[in-house]
Symmetry: none
Subunit: 238 residues, 2 copies
């Protein structure tokens, strides 16, 4: 699947460009574009920080203006901490990436703009964007840096698109296995005189059944619990 382009507009610190490349690679993004990077290009500090993500930098395209950088994009999102008085929809990173995934699947080229470290995107940069993406930070502490902002957007893209990570849960116990386990423990506890006094036995058994039914046991763990009971009961006198 194609991926969105991450477009850093007039980035200042090479370290942030390198860290952004790492964040992209963590989640399967590979296409970086740079608009007028302050310290020129290539940038040794970016390379040093990117370490394993150097290939993102090697493939980065450099443009003179934001307009040029987004020229081939069908849809452009602009990230900004402080949405300005612009008549554009404001989306969360999650909503924006969900939308982008759909657009890309439909054949569109999608770009995300990130502004320079201090000043952020200017009105000229925003002119070509259809929507604003704003990370919902605490307004009293809204100090995300450039690379962190790229990381969060890349995270919402997710490396596999809509594929969820494979879960490696063990085989869960079936209801029948749980039922049998409950029966065996109930019988053993009956023998041991646990359900006492008689008039409380029914409610105690019900409570224990409820407890078992809520246990998220794997099939192998049911066997452990059978084994435990066997061992505890084995040495009781008849």
């Amino acid at each position: 699947m194609l991926t969105p382009a991450i477009i850093l507009v007039r980035p200042q610190m090479g370290e942030n460009i390198g860290a952004a490349a790492r964040g992209m690679r963590n989640f399967g993004l590979s296409e970086m574009r740079l608009v007028a990077p302050r310290d020129g290009w290539p940038n040794p500090k970016a390379v040093a920080t990117a370490s394993g993500a150097g290939r993102v930098l090697d493939a980065a395209r450099v443009h003179g203006t934001t307009a040029e950088a987004i020229a081939d994009c069908h849809t452009v999102y602009a990230t900004t901490a402080r949405p300005r008085d612009l008549i554009k929809p404001v989306l969360t990173p999650e909503a924006a990436m969900a939308e982008a995934r759909g657009l890309i699947a439909a054949g569109q080229k999608v770009g995300f703009l990130f502004g320079p470290e201090r000043a952020g995107l200017q009105n000229d940069d925003l002119a070509g964007a259809q929507a604003i993406v704003s990370v919902p930070v605490d307004p009293e502490f809204a100090s995300l840096n450039l690379a962190q902002c790229v990381l969060l957007l890349a995270y919402e893209w997710g490396w596999g698109g809509s594929d969820q990570p494979a879960r490696e849960d063990p085989e869960p116990a079936t209801r029948v296995e749980m039922e049998k386990l409950g029966d065996r423990w109930e019988d053993a506890l009956d023998d041991a005189g646990f359900f006492f006094p008689d008039e409380k036995a029914a409610s105690m058994k019900l409570r224990l059944r409820n407890l078992w039914s809520r246990m998220p046991l794997a099939s192998g763990e049911v066997q452990i619990l059978h084994g435990i009971l066997r061992q505890l009961v084995r040495r009781r006198p008849e």
Copy 2:
């Protein structure tokens, strides 16, 4: 609204502790706990990196062991890049934080464990956790650092949290209650010769600890399980 505790286990670099504090503050988290930080505490590098988030560090509690750090928690999530062969559910950050929000609204204390920079969490650290949180990074480039991992989890918490309706669940068991329950059963099973052969005893005990840690028990149910054991063991010959 209360917030989850962010628990850094044996963190190495002060810079990462400081950056984690910033990531927490961005999204409204304030409670940090540290387990045996390598360079002692307080740590000047952490303070320098945290800058505006210094109050998170000031309020941080320091513990000697993971077990001590999670003692008052009802539910504990462990973040790990590589889920091990443990029988625990594996959740995305989004799913885990959604669940945590519900548990906290219902009155639970929730903690998230983060391992040291290189080695990650060890089996002993994981023993007290009910579930694993795994960030779905590209397996070919899974190099999230500690502070980035905290940032992503904090992001999923979101600074406002959404107000959840209060649930009327029974009082959940604390980690200390579960720990004591696990101890008593382990001792009794030891006496009964359950952990056999010797060379398998350690892994059998670990497996049983993991089983206990995942049980969503109410405080009253812990008492039932103490009672069951008492009754089963009582009539064994000495």
